[in-house]
């Protein structure tokens, strides 16, 4: 093998240069995000089918979601997206401490999101607005309101799982950054984490009006 002597450690043997490796990773990441879109897509289809069947019930049921908490969570996630983007920008400029600070703030905002989500969930569980056969609430007018809550919990739950997974990845990135494993020349994992985090934000941007803001 005629590998040139100055191959950096992070360049795998089967790539010929860093750009090729970074491009491959980015393409792979986008393809992965594509699968995520379709994973949520199935739930969006279920949502459309049942909303088209029972528009009244969806309208009545959505009143039991807390718009204030939902709005706060939207702001929190958007802000976390900004901090995530800034953390990568700082690494591009070689400012490692700034990167760490922005990553920590992203992580903190993700925590805030989940804590608010926890209060929303526990309030609903307390009222019996549970998915499917555990639904015991009687306040919602219309046909089969439990399906609204089934879809609500399925979609926000899947989204919440993604937030949680994202937090673990961010922690991992914090560790890698503080161990000085990234540089302005190589920060691919950080970039991939950013893409993932923005997708989680993007999905919430749709979930928020579809559940909280049924006009």
């Amino acid at each position: 093998m005629d590998h040139s002597e100055n191959r950096p450690a992070y360049l795998a043997h089967h790539f010929s240069n860093i750009a090729q490796q970074a491009d491959a990773a980015k393409l792979g990441m986008w393809v992965f995000l594509l699968t995520e879109v379709l994973l949520f897509g199935g739930l969006f289809v279920a949502y459309s089918v049942f909303r088209a069947w029972n528009p009244e019930m969806f309208y009545n049921a959505h009143k039991y979601l807390n718009v204030t908490l939902g709005s706060i969570n939207t702001v929190v996630l958007i802000t976390s997206s900004v901090t995530m983007a800034l953390s990568i920008r700082s690494m591009q400029l070689g400012k490692r401490q700034q990167t760490l600070a922005f990553l920590w703030s992203t992580l903190l905002l993700a925590c805030v999101f989940l804590v608010i989500k926890y209060f929303e969930y526990s309030h609903k569980i307390h009222l019996g607005q549970l998915p499917g056969k555990y639904y015991t609430f009687t306040g919602v007018q219309g046909t089969n309101p439990h399906i609204f809550f089934s879809i609500y919990f399925a979609m926000t739950g899947l989204h919440g799982v993604h937030v949680l997974a994202g937090m673990f990845v961010i922690i991992w990135m914090i560790i890698k950054t503080s161990r000085n494993m990234f540089s302005p020349e190589y920060y691919t994992p950080l970039e991939m984490t950013g893409l993932y985090w923005h997708l989680v934000d993007l999905i919430w941007i749709y979930l928020f009006p579809l559940f909280y803001l049924i006009g």
Partner: protein
């Protein structure tokens, strides 16, 4: 082939003001969508909500996710998801919304309320239990 860097280089650094500006724009749009939801526009509410969400989504994808600066291939990959999702949704709705075309009786379930509401006082609990009989 396919080993060269694209014209903007792999290290495009987005100006700080772009990030802050987009973030601010997203918050404004959030405020607008919340406000509009309290105005009754009939069927247009959902349209407005989705249009605003799509503008927000595009901003995130184009700037935070760098699609605006990056190679076109990534935009193509991502939009494939939307194309196929639309196909999935449209063809499914062609079934679920058009079941009564030939025979209206086929369009509706004969017992609208789920089994869990059978023994529960509710606004609509009078429906016939023994559903097989007619």
């Amino acid at each position: 082939m396919s080993t060269g860097t694209d014209k903007t280089g792999g290290h495009h650094v987005t100006p700080l003001n772009v990030y802050l500006g987009i973030g601010f724009g997203l918050l404004i749009l959030t405020a607008i969508t919340i406000t509009v939801s309290f105005i009754n526009l009939g069927g247009w509410n959902v349209v407005v909500a989705l249009v605003i969400a799509s503008i927000k989504g595009s901003l995130v994808a184009l700037f935070f996710m760098h699609l605006f600066y990056d190679k076109k291939i990534y935009s193509i990959v991502f939009s494939m998801g939307l194309v196929f999702l639309s196909i999935f949704m449209a063809l499914t709705l062609f079934d679920t919304l058009r079941r009564g075309d030939i025979d209206m009786i086929k369009a509706e379930p004969f017992k609208k309320e789920a089994a869990i509401y059978d023994n529960r006082p509710g606004p609509d609990s009078t429906s016939e239990h023994n559903s097989g009989r007619h």
